[in-house]
């Protein structure tokens, strides 16, 4: 089973796969468990004109793609650097009129993904959820309909399908059976709502290891297209149980983009072709120190 079924590819190959797609989804929250190495590989491989369906809260993962000029359309729920401030790449792109925003929110992005994952054309929510806000006016994808059973008004949140879903796992075997150790479990629906699923992982484990830890397997591998071994692949975001977020690095990014020095950041941290070269730039001592904050 093992050999013939292996889905392991190189980071560069994964980057090319991602760059071939248009609608990209991802999981990870804020500065936790974003598939950062995959994102850097996609940028290096010329990803362009992307539509992004992010998790309900996001930070550097999507801001970097926007700042690098890869993104046309963004399904918004929340993007921000929490204590650091507003997402600089996102804010600059919108205020310059360079980014189309679908004005979504937590239920819109989450239930749109859920609908796509389940094959439902849409999910209706009671009108009282959105009436009284400006969201239906700003987001024409929220359509008012009537519940055929009761006549009550509701809004239909349409299914949000992705071409390619990118995820970072703490452990994954070569068949794509993956463990995500933290977070709020957006991964399975993100994967189910996409045609292609690509997983980077801190560690590739044996199928026996998977069987032994089956209760921790959060995503069975049958829909996974590719698995990439990338230690510290979530850096500078946290990898739950493995290392914490690199707050000084996040600030380097934040300041660079806010000052219009995105290219400096890209040249130094996105251009390196391998994860080893990237980690050299970050400094292995810095990386190892993050393991204390796992």
């Amino acid at each position: 089973m093992a050999e013939s079924g292996s889905k392991v590819v190189s980071l560069d190959e994964a980057g090319r796969m991602i760059a071939r797609h248009k609608v990209i989804s991802l999981a990870g929250s804020h500065s936790v468990n974003s598939p950062m190495a995959l994102i850097r590989a996609a940028i290096r491989n010329g990803a362009t004109g992307l539509t992004i369906i992010p998790p309900v809260t996001t930070a550097i993962a999507t801001d970097l793609m926007i700042a690098a000029g890869c993104v046309d359309t963004f399904y918004l729920s929340y993007i921000g650097f929490e204590t650091l401030g507003f997402a600089p790449g996102f804010r600059a792109a919108v205020e310059a009129g360079k980014l189309r925003v679908i004005e979504g929110d937590e239920p819109f992005v989450l239930l749109g993904t859920r609908a796509a994952a389940g094959g439902y054309p849409f999910i209706p929510v009671p009108a009282g959820v959105y009436d009284g806000t400006d969201l239906p006016r700003l987001n024409p994808m929220l359509k008012k309909i009537k519940d055929p059973h009761t006549g009550a008004e509701c809004y239909a949140i349409p299914a949000l399908h992705a071409d390619c879903c990118i995820l970072h796992a703490q452990e994954c075997d070569e068949l794509g059976n993956a463990q995500f150790w933290g977070g709020n479990n957006q991964e399975p629906d993100k994967a189910a709502a996409a045609k292609t699923v690509i997983i980077s992982t801190e560690r590739i484990v044996s199928l026996d290891h998977t069987r032994k830890n089956v209760d921790r397997v959060t995503l069975p591998g049958h829909k996974v297209s590719a698995v990439v071994h990338v230690p510290f692949g979530a850096h500078p975001t946290a990898s739950p149980g493995v290392y914490g977020a690199d707050e000084p690095h996040l600030k380097i990014y934040f300041d660079a983009v806010r000052k219009g020095e995105t290219k400096t950041y890209l040249d130094r941290f996105v251009a390196p072709k391998t994860q080893a070269e990237y980690l050299d730039q970050v400094g292995l001592d810095n990386i190892f120190a993050l393991q204390e904050n796992a």
């Binding site: 919108v94 009282g128 009284g132 969201l135």
Partner: protein
């Protein structure tokens, strides 16, 4: 704009005062379920403190890390930090969180905004003309739940006329809309509407009939004039206005030894004006 922390008492930082004031309020929610989300380090500290002081049976959900009733004693900077789930009694995935938002399963919650207006409406969308906004907000996440959770509590770390505006440019979280009973023409009528607003300067509530925002207490070291000057609309100002009680020695002891041993709150930015 002034950093508020330095304006507080020498004995505590303003975010600590705010966390203590929120924790006292959560005493009325003992036994009830609520939660905190993104950019919510102060409410996060407040909920943890409430469990140890005013609300031993509080049920609370800690955002992105998805833990229920965590027992951390080193306050993380983000509710998504995996360490925010330490000692939890259960987890909720994001779908549960949304479902409970829709069903009205949350008793209480904290929400902030880029703008908050005189009727407690929230704007996280932006300022200016859509879509090329002058200030693009971070997106509305779960601010919509101010319409469905039973008792929303509001807060901002920036008490300024730019945040506290007469009317939000856009509404992403419904407060009392245009006041009076207007809220209940739109949102689920089982919910009560915003209860309080916590800022570095003061605590506000809402006048029972008009639903206009009303000053409730001024934080120690500040005056009613400070509040008026930094608020972008006319607050209802009652006579005989008390000061917010400063944190007691016991509250500070529990906060600093059992909630925030690393002093994270002291470094949280709070501004006035």
């Amino acid at each position: 704009m002034a950093e508020a922390a330095i304006s507080g008492s020498n004995d505590y930082a303003i975010p600590e005062l705010m966390a203590v004031a929120m924790a006292r309020t959560l005493g009325r929610e003992d036994g009830n379920l609520g939660g905190v989300g993104a950019a919510a380090v102060v409410p996060m500290a407040a909920a943890r403190l409430a469990v140890l002081t005013t609300a031993p049976n509080l049920w609370w959900f800690c955002g992105g890390a998805s833990g229920l009733n965590p027992t951390f004693d080193r306050l993380p900077r983000s509710s998504a930090d995996p360490r925010a789930a330490i000692g939890s009694t259960g987890k909720k995935n994001m779908l549960d969180v949304v479902d409970m938002g829709i069903t009205g399963g949350w008793d209480w919650g904290f929400n902030g905004g880029l703008q908050i207006d005189m009727y407690g409406n929230i704007n996280m969308i932006g300022i200016g003309t859509y879509p090329q906004l002058k200030v693009r907000g971070p997106g509305t996440v779960g601010t919509i739940w101010t319409g469905t959770l039973r008792r929303p509590y509001l807060y901002t770390m920036h008490h300024t006329a730019r945040v506290l505006v007469e009317k939000c440019d856009y509404i992403s979280g419904p407060g009392y809309l245009t006041g009076g009973n207007s809220r209940w023409d739109k949102v689920q009528n089982t919910t009560e509407g915003p209860q309080l607003l916590f800022t570095p300067l003061a605590i506000m509530d809402f006048e029972p009939d008009s639903k206009r925002m009303r000053l409730k207490s001024v934080n120690p070291g500040y005056t009613v004039e400070d509040v008026k000057k930094n608020t972008g609309f006319d607050l209802v100002i009652p006579k005989d206005l008390p000061n917010t009680a400063p944190p007691s020695a016991e509250e500070l002891f529990v906060l600093r030894n059992h909630v925030d041993r690393d002093g994270v709150l002291k470094g949280v930015r709070a501004t006035i004006g």
